[in-house]
């Protein structure tokens, strides 16, 4: 029995390492094709990794670049946004995303936000939730060690260091936990990019209802509700309406 378990674990590890190697190989293949200006081929190579269910900021970024070169602005925006979700702090991603957004039809002015909120958002966006989570975990373990020191040390100075240090790291842990929570909320917020050249946004989830407005490819929308094949979407400037699910792709 033990032997079977061991064999299973070994197989799993082997498969995992093989697949990681495989992914890196395909990624490299995409990069090579990109260098040769075969953007369609590069996009295909990157896509094959994406289709396996893996994601990484570099993968999304390069794929978005390939789509940008192929003049597929909506897809470029989609993958830049995905990359940005994985690493909100990357300047290259933000730069290319801005360039791609310039080539979209809709120019949506975001509603003015309160400066404090903006400030908080900048802090929250500093790291993806995975990093905030990792920071929080590290802090809580350090706090544990310090509390253990406090408990078992016979020396006064160690006891004191252990107690106050433990409390400081516990506070850090809570802060990172909160930032991670906010960031995670943002990450799982169902944003989508309009993928069709044009998408009619209706006043109610019916084909027969009137058009509220029209969106064009590459526009970022927030999905708030879903009824059948219709999504209730909201723009950053506050406009809202019902658009077909098939017209958009979730970030």
């Amino acid at each position: 029995m033990k032997r079977i378990k061991f064999a299973c674990l070994f197989l799993f590890l082997f498969a995992a390492s093989l697949s990681a190697q495989d992914l890196a190989k395909q990624f490299q293949q995409g990069n090579d094709l990109y260098k040769k200006k075969d953007y369609a081929g590069a996009a295909k190579a990157y896509e094959s990794v994406v289709k396996k269910g893996y994601s990484s900021e570099g993968l999304y970024f390069n794929l978005a670049n390939a789509y940008f070169r192929l003049n597929d602005v909506p897809k470029a925006v989609l993958y830049y946004e995905k990359a940005k979700n994985l690493n909100p702090n990357d300047e290259d991603i933000q730069y290319n995303l801005n360039l791609a957004k310039l080539r979209t039809v809709d120019k949506i002015e975001p509603k003015g936000e309160i400066s404090f909120y903006e400030f908080m958002k900048n802090i929250i966006d500093f790291q993806p939730s995975v990093r905030w989570g990792a920071y929080a975990v590290v802090c809580v373990w350090i706090a544990l060690l310090l509390f253990a020191l406090f408990l078992f040390s016979q020396t006064f100075i160690f006891k004191k260091t252990g107690f106050y240090g433990g409390i400081i790291f516990l506070v850090f842990f809570l802060v990172f936990l909160a930032l991670g929570w906010e960031r995670h909320e943002m990450e799982i917020e169902p944003y989508a990019i309009i993928m069709t050249t044009e998408s009619d946004v209706k006043t109610s989830p019916e084909d027969s209802s009137g058009n509220a407005f029209v969106l064009h490819g590459g526009t970022k929308v927030k999905i708030q509700e879903n009824v059948g094949e219709w999504n209730y979407i909201r723009l950053t400037d506050g406009k809202a309406g019902w658009a077909k699910m098939t017209d958009m792709e979730k970030i």
């Binding site: 990681a20 992914l23 890196a24 990624f27 990069n31 990109y34 990794v49 994406v50 269910g53 893996y54 994601s55 990484s56 900021e57 570099g58 993968l59 970024f61 390069n62 670049n65 390939a66 940008f68 003049n71 994985l86 690493n87 290259d92 730069y95 290319n96 801005n98 360039l99 791609a100 310039l102 080539r103 979209t104 039809v105 120019k107 939730s129 995975v130 905030w132 989570g133 990792a134 975990v137 809580v140 373990w141 706090a143 544990l144 509390f147 253990a148 408990l151 842990f173 936990l177 929570w181 960031r183 995670h184 990450e187 799982i188 050249t197 044009e198 009619d200 058009n211 029209v214 064009h216």
Partner: protein
């Protein structure tokens, strides 16, 4: 003689009474808006003339007095006439009661008159019946300066409305003609002071002639000078009885004044300036409603006869190019109601409001020509589209049925524009963004970064929760561990203390047995164990610390008397010595045993 005189007097008075008469005269029939005159004549000198109460008429002017003398067969007779001008207040038979006047012989009354007031335009017939009386030359009398209102006034100038059709349908054109009729006056000026408002009508004024010519026309057997005031084409907007509001025209001119001077009047006719407001009567039209049967859905009240055509300037164009689409409606009817058509081209097109132009001829009784709607449309997205057909419904006035005309769908192909879509919105970019537009994207990354499952998040995952919660559990575990260990330590000392006497007694019991067996070494070992064990258990000290000094120190710290300490040490020394001494120098074991027993029982009391 006296009797004769009285007969004569009666006779005379009868003659006098017969002679003094007050007579009233007026036309038998007058129109509703017509002023008329009533004349009372008394053939004697009289005063204190009283008008009867007249609830049905409004006094408009008067009295105008005239006196006439007549000489018949050498006798003169005098008559005084008083003329008043009235206007009827309502239609129907109205009575003027008797008027009274004081004459020498007393108060006399006039006859009463019944006047028939009729609706509608002035009937000059009634007035005409008075004309002979007025034209009757009157003997003597002064020329009348105040003749402005007498004789030929309203009845001689009036407005007549005529319609070219008596039976009109909703939306059907009807021509209304306003004419001014005048007789015995010369009109110099004609001005509309109150134009009628045509409620519930679309009205199209026909252009006025620049120099309207007076024409001659016979009306009621009389010759009138006629001026055309207005011609208007009216389209009734609803069925039922509709009323044309009256029109008021101010006329000015000259009229002949008939002289009352029997000697000079006829030779030198006098003329007088006058200015007058002439009001037409209200006119009612009966309008038939359009049939409900077969009324098309989009019918908007257009009546006449029409054709429709539509064409686009081109069928193929590029994004953001303009397309012109022209719809022309031509024919005859109420064009003013032909409104632009709404085109639904969908959100891919910018459709601008159409430019409307028309060329319409207003003929006698109809408006014909065409009306054009010019639409400009700009496609924003490439694709195949069609301009939807237009449906235009009207009621054919000739065949009396509804007709719906349709144009054809016009297919339009829109090709991709030369520039990309972004170009259209470049103007909305700010300066910084425009400079960015020229930049190229940053190059791809050579390293993919860590691959993770797409859509899976570390934050909030089971692993994350585990890693974050474990330290807390571990901390709790540590605290629990520490406390339990402390508790355990506490327990061991306590138990040992409680059992100390028992353990010592157990050792002493073994020692007693060994004493009887004369096994000295085992005996002393046992006694030592009893003593050390007892002290250790009682004080909680470890067995390792069994040096003589440490025990002494410890015992004194526990407030044991010096005698007991020294006795303890003495026994220990004895035992240690005896344990290693040769068999020959065996001591008696009995006193050691008894000493130990008594020492332990003493310590039992002191080591609490």
């Amino acid at each position: 003689m006296k009797r004769l005189l009285s007969i004569l007097f009666i006779l005379f008075s009868a003659i006098v009474a017969n002679g003094q008469k007050l007579t009233a005269s007026a036309p038998a029939e007058v129109g509703m808006n017509q002023d008329f005159q009533v004349e009372w004549t008394v053939n004697a000198d009289g005063n204190n003339f009283k008008l009867p109460p007249m609830p049905d008429f409004q006094l408009m002017g008067g009295p105008y007095q005239s006196t006439s003398f007549q000489m018949v067969n050498g006798r003169t007779s005098q008559s005084i006439s008083l003329t008043y001008q009235f206007r009827p207040k309502h239609v129907g038979k109205c009575t003027i009661g008797p008027a009274t006047v004081q004459v020498a012989s007393g108060t006399i009354s006039s006859n009463s008159l019944t006047i028939n007031v009729v609706q509608g335009s002035a009937n000059s017939g009634g007035q005409a019946s008075r004309q002979p009386q007025q034209q009757q030359p009157r003997g003597g009398g002064q020329p009348q300066a105040q003749s402005g209102s007498d004789g030929q006034n309203n009845g001689d100038v009036f407005i007549k409305i005529s319609l070219n059709k008596s039976n009109v349908m909703e939306g059907e054109a009807v021509l209304a003609t306003y004419k001014l009729y005048a007789r015995n006056v010369q009109l110099n000026q004609l001005m509309m002071s109150k134009a009628p408002a045509y409620n519930f009508f679309w009205s199209e004024m026909l252009p006025e002639e620049k120099n309207p010519q007076m024409t001659q026309e016979m009306y009621n057997g009389k010759k009138y000078a006629v001026a055309l005031i207005r011609k208007v084409i009216l389209y009734p907007q609803k069925s039922g009885t509709l009323t044309l509001d009256p029109m008021t025209v101010t006329v000015a001119g000259v009229k002949q004044v008939r002289s009352n001077d029997p000697f000079f009047g006829s030779f030198f006719p006098e003329y007088q300036q006058f200015s007058q407001d002439i009001k037409s009567t209200a006119y009612s039209i009966k309008v038939q409603s359009l049939p409900e049967a077969g009324k098309p859905a989009g019918f908007s009240g257009i009546v006449g006869k029409f054709q429709i055509s539509a064409k686009a300037t081109r069928n193929k164009l590029k994004e953001n190019d303009a397309l012109n689409y022209t719809v022309t409606v031509s024919g005859t009817g109420n064009f003013s109601q032909v409104e632009p058509f709404t085109l639904s081209m969908g959100p891919e097109w910018d459709t601008y409001d159409p430019k409307t132009s028309d060329k319409l001829d207003k003929e006698e009784d109809r408006i014909s020509g065409y009306k054009t709607f010019d639409y400009t449309m700009v496609p924003k997205v490439a694709g195949d589209y069609k301009i939807p057909a237009i449906h235009f419904s009207y009621f054919d006035i000739n065949s009396h049925r509804y007709v719906t005309l349709n144009t054809n769908d016009i297919p339009v192909t829109v090709e991709k524009g030369s520039g990309n879509n972004g170009n259209a919105s470049v103007s909305t970019l700010n300066k910084q963004e425009v400079s960015l537009l020229g930049q190229d994207i940053r190059y791809i990354k050579s390293k993919p970064g860590t691959f993770s499952d797409a859509g899976s998040y570390f934050y909030g995952s089971a692993g994350f929760v585990g890693l974050a919660i474990t330290p807390f559990l571990a901390f709790i575990g540590l605290v629990v561990y520490k406390r339990r260990r402390a508790e355990e330590n506490l327990d061991v000392t306590l138990r040992r203390r409680q059992k100390a006497t028992g353990v010592a007694r157990k050792h002493l019991k073994t020692a007693n047995l060994l004493m009887q067996k004369k096994d000295a070494i085992a005996f002393y070992t046992e006694v030592l164990m009893a003593l050390y064990g007892y002290v250790h258990d009682k004080t909680g000290l470890e067995m390792a610390e069994t040096s003589r000094e440490s025990i002494q120190e410890m015992l004194s710290s526990k407030n044991i008397h010096e005698t007991e300490i020294s006795s303890f040490l003495q026994i220990v020394d004895q035992c240690e010595f005896a344990k290693y001494a040769p068999v020959a120098v065996q001591m008696d074991m009995e006193p050691v045993y008894n000493q130990t027993l008594s020492l332990i029982s003493t310590l039992e009391g002191q080591l609490k």
